[in-house]
């Protein structure tokens, strides 16, 4: 059936940092959303609906959108909240607009990891009966996955380290990124083990920050002078919860989501047609797994793919030119930032890179060891 077209008009984000002691989450949201509507040349009354993304446990406050929503401009507006990454909230906003019920939507994602303990937060994702007594949380789950992935495909820790080096070098030009610099593979390999084989520099940091994105229908897009990034394809998928119930060496739900997003966008050969990708890689090796799942290289070929330089800035398919999650990780904004950066890259708005590509992929993940994934295909044509 005919579906209304929806575009990303503009985005805004905070300068992400380890700790923002002078601001609470409402401050972060207010400054980001205010910046967003100023960039768009709008007033808040031009916004039809607001969808938030955050998490009560990280906020230390139940039903947190009771307080956050009005700072995102949702006073007496149609509002809702997705308790997941902002990239999922953007999918809901997309569907609200595509239905014809709304023309403009603000999506915001935020967190202040410094106010809380992200490790306890992720430890509470473990069910109380089987996983929690074992101490499974995001890092240990990822370590089990890394072991499975390396062992099955012969990908090495130093190949994964190259992802950490690339993304943090890419981040040097990104004014919003939090961890950046010219690290070496040796630096990554020599950094402390946090859960073998994952080392400190393989992992994304804890970051305070916020991102907001303005979505608009094809009719509403005409009101703006900004170049839109059209959402041509979008799909998401979740896999089994228990780590033992899936093959941890492959990101099956990401592959499935990508297949559907490509079909929706009419992409037949992602390696040739996609010019740039922003992937949500909480851990370095997961960028390689995701590159496989999204069809950028063959299954098990992630190690050779990074060594080939294909995902470097000068390569045929640059991945995480913004620096990715390894360079800034405000949980619940991290995936939304991928969507924002992908849109910026193909519309000439990225501060850190000028590229020719006009089609991008953006991805976000949720849950232990890439359980749930969302994939977007954007174009600026």
């Amino acid at each position: 059936m005919h579906m209304r077209k929806v575009a990303i008009v503009v985005s805004e984000q905070t300068h992400h940092e380890r700790r923002k002691p002078d601001k609470n989450v409402e401050d972060l949201i207010y400054e980001t959303v205010s910046g967003l509507i100023a960039k768009a040349g709008l007033s808040i009354s031009d916004i039809d609906t607001v969808i938030g993304a955050g998490d009560d446990v990280l906020d230390g406050r139940s039903i947190s959108n009771v307080f956050t929503a009005e700072y995102a401009g949702a006073f007496l507006k149609e509002e809702s909240k997705i308790e997941d990454d902002g990239a999922f909230a953007a999918a809901y906003a997309f569907m609200r607009i595509a239905s014809g019920s709304f023309d403009t939507a603000i999506v915001y994602g935020y967190s202040k990891g410094s106010d809380s303990s992200p490790q306890y937060y992720s430890g509470m994702i473990a069910d109380p009966f089987f996983l929690r007594p074992l101490g499974v949380e995001a890092i240990t789950a990822a370590a089990l996955q890394a072991g499975c992935y390396y062992q099955r495909f012969g990908v090495t820790e130093s190949q994964a380290a190259r992802v950490a080096v690339k993304n943090r070098r890419n981040a040097i030009g990104n004014p919003f990124a939090h961890i950046k610099g010219n690290y070496t593979v040796e630096d990554v390999m020599a950094s402390p083990q946090i859960a073998s084989p994952v080392k400190r520099l393989d992992a994304s940091p804890v970051t305070d920050g916020c991102c907001a994105v303005l979505l608009a229908s094809d009719e509403a897009v005409k009101r703006f002078s900004l170049k839109p990034a059209w959402i041509d394809g979008l799909s998401f998928c979740t896999d089994a919860y228990y780590l033992g119930h899936r093959d941890l060496s492959v990101a099956r739900s990401a592959r499935k989501a990508a297949g559907k997003a490509y079909a929706m966008a009419g992409i037949l050969d992602p390696r040739r047609e996609i010019g740039v990708a922003e992937l949500h890689e909480p851990f370095s090796f997961q960028e390689l797994m995701l590159a496989e799942a999204l069809g950028f290289c063959e299954e098990g070929g992630g190690g050779r793919f990074i060594e080939s330089g294909a995902s470097e800035p000068a390569g045929r398919l640059p991945i995480n030119l913004s620096g990715g999650a390894l360079s800034a990780n405000p949980i619940f904004a991290t995936g939304l930032i991928r969507l924002a950066e992908a849109a910026k890259l193909i519309t000439g708005q990225a501060e850190y890179a000028g590229i020719e590509a006009r089609k991008a992929v953006a991805h976000a993940t949720s849950g232990f060891a890439l359980q749930s994934n969302i994939v977007y295909v954007l174009s600026s044509n």
């Binding site: 406050r61 039903i63 007496l76």
Partner: protein, 385 residues
């Protein structure tokens, strides 16, 4: 816009403590019943929307991941909606947009909570802001007591009128096999003499805490018409928010609900809600609220909520029955509660409400309430496409 309908509903048995199932078990029970009621299998479902209220209720974060398989979401699109008390309705409304957008054709929305896993009022006290409210955090009844007191002072409604709501809904509950709290000999005197929780709210003015879940199956027009002899067509939805900390905020004037009501009536082409709506399921966690919500939904004039219940109009035999299911006063899982309103409204227009069926019901309204007592959702369903 594409026509969208509810084609099946499922509720669990609710109890103060369901020892026989885990949280995913509750979710599975509701989801399976909804699929069975819709006459579809999980293979026919394109996407799942999951909803539950604060994580502290079960002490589990991202329950949608733990419950993925139980909710039927394995290798399907799934995300979690969380808007506090309204979450059941927000989840059903998200599923509506999933289908209305054309992205999906058949969507399962499932919500629930297992409140026996934790002290509920402690969880609700963490809704209060850590800096500007935690010192006097006092759960839900005390916040609503402020609302009830302001409502009584401004409009002269009485505790006796509130007790009439409690008696009406508790009697209705006796006709609903899924209602949890059953007090066959309920009287106004019993309500008025029940222990005070937070003045003017008394024990029998209040909802119980429940372990339970609810699910609905939503489909696009072709599929709905093919699968269901009498679908509940969704005519309009709204999910409105209001602020918490603004000067002059009036607890007895629910602005978000009034906005939501205006929007759904406009969308559904309803000009006289009192006449055109045949039955309503409102989120009355406390008896006073049914009167206040009735006013904000324009069922009567401001200040006339008490007179409305006294008139008998909201009885099952009246011209606008409210909460024939027994309402929230009889069952409150929080996570599924607002979806139960949608499910019950749909059952009424589908003619599947059994003993609490309102004869001839063709248009029904479902309401959800929550947050810092400022979130409101409304859905209008109709037997007519």
């Amino acid at each position: 816009m594409r026509q969208v309908a509810i084609i099946g509903t499922g509720q669990t048995r609710c109890k103060e403590r369901r020892d026989d199932v885990s949280f995913p078990g509750l979710i599975y029970e509701a989801a399976s019943r909804a699929l069975e009621d819709a006459g579809v299998s999980i293979k026919d479902v394109d996407a799942v929307v999951f909803g539950s209220a604060p994580e502290l209720f079960e002490g589990i974060n991202h329950p949608e991941h733990w419950c993925a398989e139980a909710a039927g979401a394995w290798l399907k699109p799934s995300m979690r909606v969380h808007t506090g008390g309204t979450v059941g309705a927000s989840t059903g409304i998200a599923a509506f947009y999933y289908v209305a957008s054309g992205m999906f054709d058949t969507v399962l929305a499932v919500t629930g909570d297992k409140l026996s896993e934790s002290p509920v009022q402690l969880g609700l006290s963490t809704v209060y802001d850590p800096i500007l409210g935690r010192q006097f955090a006092c759960g839900a009844p005390s916040a609503v007591a402020l609302q009830a007191r302001q409502y009584m002072d401004e409009f002269g409604v009485t505790e006796e009128q509130a007790a009439l709501v409690a008696v009406k809904n508790r009697r209705n509950a006796l006709l609903n096999p899924y209602a949890q709290l059953r007090i066959p000999d309920i009287t106004v005197e019993m309500v008025l003499s029940s222990p005070v929780l937070s003045s003017p709210i008394k024990l029998l003015d209040s909802c119980p805490a429940s372990d339970g879940a609810c699910a609905i199956v939503i489909a696009g027009q072709e599929r709905a018409a093919r699968l269901c002899p009498r679908p509940a067509w969704i005519k309009a939805v709204a999910t409105y928010n209001e602020g918490v900390y603004y000067p002059g905020r009036d607890f007895a004037t629910p602005l978000a609900l009034m906005e939501a009501a205006k929007k759904v009536y406009k969308t559904a082409g309803i000009t006289d809600p009192r006449r055109e709506i045949d039955v309503a399921e409102l989120y009355e966690a406390f008896s006073f609220q049914e009167m206040l919500w009735s006013e904000a939904l324009f069922f009567c004039e401001r200040g006339e909520g008490g007179a409305l219940v006294e008139s008998g109009a909201t009885q099952m035999t009246g011209d606008l029955p409210i909460n024939p299911s027994g309402g929230v006063l009889s069952t409150n899982t929080i996570g599924a509660t607002a979806m139960m309103r949608q499910a019950e409204a749909a059952m009424q227009v589908m003619g599947r409400a059994g003993e609490h069926q309102i004869e001839g019901a063709r248009t029904a309204l479902a309401h959800g309430w929550g947050g810092g007592i400022q979130f409101h959702t409304v859905m209008i369903v109709s037997a007519d496409k």
